[in-house]
Symmetry: C2
Subunit: 316 residues, 2 copies
């Protein structure tokens, strides 16, 4: 009944880190690691591997850099079969910082890329693949990519990259299930030798349903986060996904405990979830940055003015 190839990929610390400058403390990250391991989750992503020459460690927590030693400290002494991932942004990683996979606790490196940067993404991903890592290319802002460019990028990824997985990233939370179906089918048509993945955003409460839609049409790498944590509207809640999947290796109960103990208190300190300005950017297919700015100001519940700010005075 279930599809064994399906992998559940947790981004709690990485995507959640976008809300708090990647500054989760070790105790919290260990609790997450423990619970995800016990739940049978396949991958956990800790954060970004950014160059320390570009970002200050005074301003950002350790999961902005993801040093191998910091990861090793978290996982030490915890029984787990879960694989570990870090994400890199093009132009922000120094590939020389990345040791060969055999000397690192990291199993997978994911390269986030816009379609325009796909050549750079392929070069990076191939370099990491040669060092022994599993790799992915995560195609961001996919709702705004025209078909001709998408097709060319997918052919390049299929033919030139060593990535194991190519991800559809709904950066703006604007996809509905019909478009998700269209994209997964397109990806599957061209990407024949790699898996297809989905990373949803929950602006319109559609991250989980788009993930189900992607499963129906053959995506096997499924991103999710505990209690849906993530910048802005957040992500596909991993507890819903585990509740949906039929593979008996998954156990929702450690995740329920984790939410009770850690995420209910956390939700009172930092904001994510169904919040109207993020719903608006989702329905208008806009980057959430304007909504983030709104929520930090004193007009944070002034939705009509925010909505109208996207309506140009003159059309041209």
């Amino acid at each position: 009944m279930y599809r064994e190839q399906i992998k559940v990929f947790d981004c709690t610390i990485r995507d959640g880190g976008l809300i708090n400058n990647h500054d989760f403390d070790d105790r919290f990250v260990r609790e997450v690691y423990k619970a995800l391991s016990a739940a049978g989750v396949d991958y956990m992503e800790f954060g970004y591997k950014n160059s320390r020459q570009l970002f200050s460690s005074k301003e950002f927590g350790k999961w902005k850099f993801c040093d191998d030693d910091d990861i090793s400290k978290i996982i030490e002494g915890i029984d787990s079969e879960m694989k570990i991932s870090v994400m890199v942004d093009i132009g922000r990683v120094n590939p020389d910082d990345v040791k060969p996979a055999k000397d690192s606790p990291v199993d997978m490196i994911r390269v986030a890329s816009y379609v325009k940067d796909i050549d750079k993404a392929i070069a990076l991903v191939n370099e990491f693949a040669e060092k022994g890592y599993e790799t992915t290319v995560n195609v961001m802002a996919i709702s705004r990519v025209l078909d001709n460019e998408m097709n060319e990028a997918l052919h390049q990824l299929e033919e030139e990259s060593k990535a194991n997985v190519i991800y559809i990233v709904d950066s703006f939370g604007s996809l509905y299930q019909e478009t998700t179906e269209y994209l997964v089918k397109k990806f599957k048509q061209i990407i024949k030798t790699k898996e297809v993945g989905i990373h949803g955003h929950n602006n319109q409460q559609l991250a989980f349903s788009n993930t189900i839609e992607a499963i129906i049409h053959g995506a096997n790498f499924l991103d999710a986060t505990v209690f849906g944590i993530g910048r802005g509207a957040g992500n596909c809640p991993i507890e819903l996904l585990i509740g949906f999947l039929k593979n008996p290796k998954f156990d929702i109960r450690p995740l329920l405990d984790l939410i009770s103990r850690e995420f209910i208190p956390l939700r009172n300190q930092i904001e994510w979830g169904y919040i109207i300005p993020y719903a608006i950017t989702g329905m208008l297919d806009e980057h959430p940055r304007t909504a983030i700015a709104l929520r930090e100001g004193d007009k944070k519940e002034n939705y009509r003015e925010f909505y109208e700010s996207f309506m140009p005075a003159e059309l041209d």
Copy 2:
């Protein structure tokens, strides 16, 4: 591009009333009525038409009874083309309380029914239809109805009832989009002379996506509530639905104002939305009553114990 037959049906005061004993004050209900009218919403449901012999007006607010005079007071002086609905439960309404439609501000009466009560539902709905009302039968708890009984009920509804719309009600918030597709297709196959409607619940964050799925397969009556208000996990958020639909008669802006001004403060007083115990009853296809009880007690964040309470000690 849009489908003119689609009707947006607001249940804010009716379903929201399940949280506060139907005790919204007149000012609030008028604000909702005004905003929905300005937004181009097609129907607004005020509450239940229950017999005053069965329920005490000391215990419940006026929207448990929906007297015509109380509705007339709300709508007086507000320019609106929106139609007005009330809901009735089988065995709780006294049909003699219902005046002929021409003497009432109410346009539509909806009969909520389990499949086992479908004969009673048909008798009631025909009586209201004869009094001049638009009518619907809302088939509750649909996720637990076996196919043979569903088919028989649908044939009866098609052949014996005067209802204008037959509704799929996902009482437990347990439907995924594949089952929604299956049910809408089944309904459309048998219900040839009436419209099909959908009423989702948001336990698993799927009320909006199931509504989209129902639209794709031909449902034209779409229930929703402002900011997703409703008992437990709540309903399909009407602002997301209006943002999705393409009919230019809809305007989201009055709804954004309404949420800013009325629903953000209200949300701090009463609870609804994505809450783990309701997600659990949704994924287990259980009535939310146990989750409601949990949330009223002192173990309200004890999710694991709650989850395990559904796991029988012995299977038989």
